[in-house]
C-alpha cells in the first residue's frame, strides 16, 4: 500500500466505495425475505512515527457486519411458531365446528324429526304413512350419523397426510440447514470474517422450518450450529441430521404421529406435549382436543341410541302382535369405547308393520303404549351419556368444539399481533430503510468526492514540484 498523501486519499476512496457497495447491496435486497441490513465497520490504519509524531495513514475496512438482535430474532421464531400452530388448529377446528354445528350436516334436526315421527306413530298407530315416515326418519338419522362419521374420518386421513407431507418438508429443510451451516463454518474459518448473507439464508430456512415444527437453534462456540425439537431431541447436530418419519400412534393406530429416527435404528414418537408449536404441534393438538373427542362422542351417541332404542323397541310388539326386533343395528356387543359404532349404525327395519308401537302382545294394532315409551327416549336422561338426554349430549359436543374453535381463532388473532410486533421490532434493527440508505449513499458519495479531491490536491502538489524543476 502506498503511503503518504496519495495513499491516504486512495484508502479513503476505497472505503467510500465499500460503503457505496454495501448501501447498494442493502437497497437491492429490500424485498429479500430474511435479509439483514449490513454496515461497514471502518477503522483508522496503523499510524506511522516519523520521528516527531504519529501520523495517520488513512482508513481501512475492518469488517462488514449485519445488524440483528438475537433476542428479537428468537421472539419472532417463538411467536411465529405459535401462530402456525394456532392457524392449523383453527382451520381444522372450524371445519369440525361447521360440520357438527350446521343445521344441515349436524344431528339436531334429524333427531327432532325422528322423535317427532315416533309421536306421530303414537297418535295414529295403525297409520301406514306415519310408520313409513318413522322408518325413513330413522334411516335419515342413522345416515346423518354415518356421514358425520365419514367426514370426521376424512378429516383424520387428511391430517395424517398432512403430517407425512410436513415431515418430508422438515427433512428437506433440516438437511439444507445442515449443509448451509457447513458452508458457513468453512467460509468463516478460511476468511475469519462473518458470512453475513449465508447466515441470513440459513436463518431464513430455520424460520421456515420453525413454522412446521418449533425448533430451538443453538450456535455452539466452535461455530457448529444445532437445532433441537420436542423436549430437547436433536434434529440437526452440526453436520449430522436426524431423519423424521411418521408412525402409527400406539393408542390410536389410525392416527399417524411424527417420530424422530435416532442413531441405532430407534424411532422416538413425538406427542403433542413435546411439540408445542408449529404446524405439526397444531395438527396434533387439534386432533387430541377436537377431532378424537368428536369421533368418540359420535360413537358413544350412536351406541347409546341403538342400544337404548333397540331395548325399548324389542320390549314392544309389532302390528301383528309379534315381539319387536332391533330397530337399529345391534351394537351391544361392541366393547367400550364403542369404536366404529357411528359408522355401523343403520335403521334395519324395512317393513313399517314391524315397528313395535304396541305394548301388548295380543292382536292390538291400535295400541300405542310402546310408541309413547320410544318417544319418551327423547327426554330421557341416558346413564351411558352421563345422565343427560341425547340432544343435550350432542349440544355439549357442539359447544365444546365451538369453544375450542373460537379459542383458536382468538389465538390466531393474538399471535398475529404478537408476531407482527416482534417482526416490527426485529425489522427496526435488521430491516432496510430506503431513506436511510439514500442518506448513506449521499454520505459515501461525498466522502468519495472528498477523497478524490484530496488526491487531486496531492497530484497538484506533485505538479508544483515538477514545475519548479522544469
Amino acid at each position: 500500500m502506498a503511503t503518504g498523501i496519495l495513499g491516504i486519499a486512495l484508502s479513503g476512496l476505497s472505503a467510500a466505495q465499500a460503503g457505496i457497495r454495501t448501501t447498494q447491496h442493502n437497497i437491492s435486497n429490500i424485498n429479500t425475505e430474511g435479509f439483514r441490513r449490513q454496515e461497514v465497520d471502518y477503522s483508522a490504519l496503523n499510524p506511522q512515527f516519523d520521528g516527531t509524531a504519529f501520523f495517520g495513514t488513512g482508513v481501512g475496512v475492518s469488517t462488514v457486519r449485519s445488524l440483528y438482535s438475537q433476542f428479537q430474532d428468537s421472539q419472532v421464531l417463538l411467536n411465529q411458531g405459535q401462530l402456525s400452530r394456532n392457524e392449523t388448529y383453527a382451520t381444522q377446528a372450524s371445519q369440525i365446528d361447521k360440520l357438527v354445528g350446521d343445521a344441515n350436516s349436524g344431528l339436531t334436526s334429524a333427531m327432532d324429526a325422528f322423535f317427532g315421527a315416533i309421536q306421530t306413530v303414537a297418535n295414529d298407530p295403525t297409520s301406514d304413512a306415519a310408520r313409513q315416515v318413522m322408518l325413513s326418519s330413522g334411516r335419515n338419522l342413522a345416515g346423518r350419523i354415518n356421514s358425520l362419521d365419514t367426514t370426521l374420518k376424512n378429516i383424520r386421513d387428511d391430517g395424517n397426510r398432512e403430517i407425512s407431507a410436513t415431515v418430508t418438508r422438515i427433512n428437506t429443510y433440516a438437511s439444507q440447514i445442515a449443509a448451509m451451516s457447513g458452508n458457513i463454518a468453512r467460509a468463516e474459518a478460511s476468511t475469519g470474517q462473518p458470512a453475513n448473507d449465508l447466515r441470513d439464508q440459513r436463518d431464513q430456512l430455520v424460520a421456515e422450518l420453525n413454522k412446521l415444527i418449533n425448533v430451538t437453534p443453538v450456535q455452539q462456540g466452535d461455530g457448529a450450529f444445532s437445532l433441537f425439537v420436542g423436549s430437547g431431541q436433536p434434529l440437526v447436530l452440526g453436520s449430522s441430521v436426524s431423519t423424521m418419519t411418521s408412525v402409527p400412534d400406539v393408542t390410536n393406530p389410525q392416527f399417524l404421529v411424527p417420530a424422530l429416527s435416532l442413531a441405532g435404528g430407534e424411532t422416538r414418537p413425538l406427542d403433542s406435549s413435546m411439540l408445542s408449536g408449529g404446524k405439526l404441534g397444531g395438527l396434533l393438538a387439534v386432533r387430541e382436543d377436537v377431532l378424537l373427542p368428536a369421533m368418540q362422542d359420535l360413537d358413544t351417541f350412536a351406541y347409546e341410541l341403538a342400544t337404548q332404542f333397540n331395548a325399548q323397541h324389542t320390549a314392544g310388539f309389532d302390528i301383528a302382535g309379534v315381539p319387536g326386533g332391533d330397530f337399529f343395528t345391534n351394537l351391544s356387543t361392541l366393547p367400550s369405547p364403542y369404536t366404529g359404532a357411528a359408522g355401523q349404525i343403520k335403521a334395519i327395519i324395512t317393513d313399517p308393520n314391524k315397528i313395535a308401537a304396541s305394548a301388548t302382545s295380543l292382536d292390538s294394532p291400535g295400541d300405542n303404549g310402546n310408541a309413547l315409551l320410544l318417544a319418551d327416549l327423547q327426554t330421557k336422561q341416558i346413564p351411558g351419556l352421563g345422565t343427560i338426554t341425547f340432544s343435550s349430549f350432542y349440544s355439549e359436543l357442539v359447544a365444546r368444539t365451538a369453544t375450542l374453535a373460537s379459542e383458536a381463532d382468538i389465538g390466531v388473532a393474538a399471535y398475529e399481533t404478537l408476531t407482527s410486533q416482534a417482526r416490527q421490532a426485529q425489522q427496526a434493527i435488521s430491516g432496510v430503510n430506503l431513506d436511510e440508505e439514500a442518506a448513506n449513499l449521499i454520505r459515501f458519495q461525498q466522502a468519495y468526492q472528498a477523497s478524490a479531491k484530496a488526491m487531486q490536491v496531492a497530484s497538484s502538489l506533485f505538479d508544483e514540484l515538477i514545475g519548479i524543476l522544469r
Binding site: 429490500i30 424485498n31 377446528a93 372450524s94 365446528d97 361447521k98 354445528g101 339436531t108 334436526s109 333427531m111 327432532d112 324429526a113 322423535f115 317427532g116 309421536q119 306421530t120 303414537a122 297418535n123 295414529d124 295403525t126 297409520s127 304396541s358 301388548t360 295380543l362 292390538s364 294394532p365 291400535g366 295400541d367 300405542n368 303404549g369 309413547l372 315409551l373 318417544a375 319418551d376 327423547q378 327426554t379 340432544s391 343435550s392 349440544s395 357442539v398 359447544a399 368444539t401 365451538a402 369453544t403 374453535a405 373460537s406 381463532d409 417482526r423 416490527q424 425489522q427 427496526a428 430491516g431 432496510v432 430503510n433 430506503l434 431513506d435 439514500a438 442518506a439 449513499l441 449521499i442
Partner: protein
Amino acid sequence: MRIDSMTYFTSSLAGIQSNQTAISRLNQQIATGLTMLATKDDPVTAVKAMELSNRIAMRTQYAANQDKAELDLNYETVVMEEMSSAMIQARTLLVGVSPSQSVSARNVNAEQLKGVFNHLLGLANTRDPSGNYIFAGYETATKPFVNAGGGVPTDYYGTSQIPVAIAPDGTTAPGGSRWSELDVGRYIQVNDNMDQVIRPIGGSDLLQELGEAIVNLPGATITQTDIDGYVAVLDTAISKLGLIEHRVAGALTELTDLRASTQALLLNEKNALSDMTQVDQAAAIVELQSRQTSLEAISRAYSLTSGLSLFNYLG
C-alpha cells in the same frame, strides 16, 4: 425509533385487511339474515339457540299431538252424543209401551225399537276416517260389537281382556285405552272402550236386552216388570255413557288450556330464538357504513405515505 421501509409501506395493509374481512362478514350476515355464521362465532349463544330450536321442534310436535287428540276426542263426543240420544229415544219408546196396549200398537213400538237398536249397534261400531273402529280399544281393525238380536248375548271383539291400561306417566284407565303425549310427561286419554257401557262386567248386556225387548214387546206374555227391567238396563247404560262423556269433556277442557299455554310458549321461544340468531339489519348496515369509511381513510393514508421517498428529491 428506527423503522424499516417494508414496515413503513405495509403498515396500512393490516388495517385494510381487517376492514375488508369485517365488511365481507357483514355482507354475509345481511345476506343470510343470521348473526352467527358458525357456532364458533358465539359458542354460548349458539348452543343456547340449538337447545331452544330443539325445544321448539318438540313443542311443535306436542302442538300437533294436541290437534290430533282434539280431533279424536271431538269425534268421540259427536258419536257419544248420538249414542246418548239413541238410548234416550229407546227409553222413551219403552216407557211409552204398556202390556195393556194392542199387539199391533206394541208391534209398531218394537219395529221402532229395532231401528234404534240397529242405529246404536252401528254407532258402537263407528270407524274413524282412517277406518279404525274407535270403540274397539286396541283392536282397531276388528268390528267390536256383533249382536244377532233376539236375546242373543253380544259378542265383543275389542280389547277387554286386559283389565287395565297404564299410561307412561302411571295413569290408569280401562283396558284398551290409548294416550297421547301433549307436553313433556303429560298424557291424555284419547279413546274409550265402549264395552264398559254396552256389556259392563257384572251388569246386563244392553244390546242383548234390547234384542229381547224387540222380540218380546209384541208377545202376549210381556209384563210391566219386564218393560221396567229393560228401562233400568238402559238407564244404567245412559249414566255410564254420561260418565265417559264427562271424562271426554274434561279432557277437551284440559286440552284447550294446554294448547293455549303451548302456543304462548312456542311464540315466546320463537321470538327468543330469532333475537339470538337473526341479524339486526339496521345495526348491521350502520356498521357497514362505518367500516367503509375507515377503509377509505386507511386507503387514502396508504396512497399518501407510499409516495414519499427521499430518492424522489435526489439527482
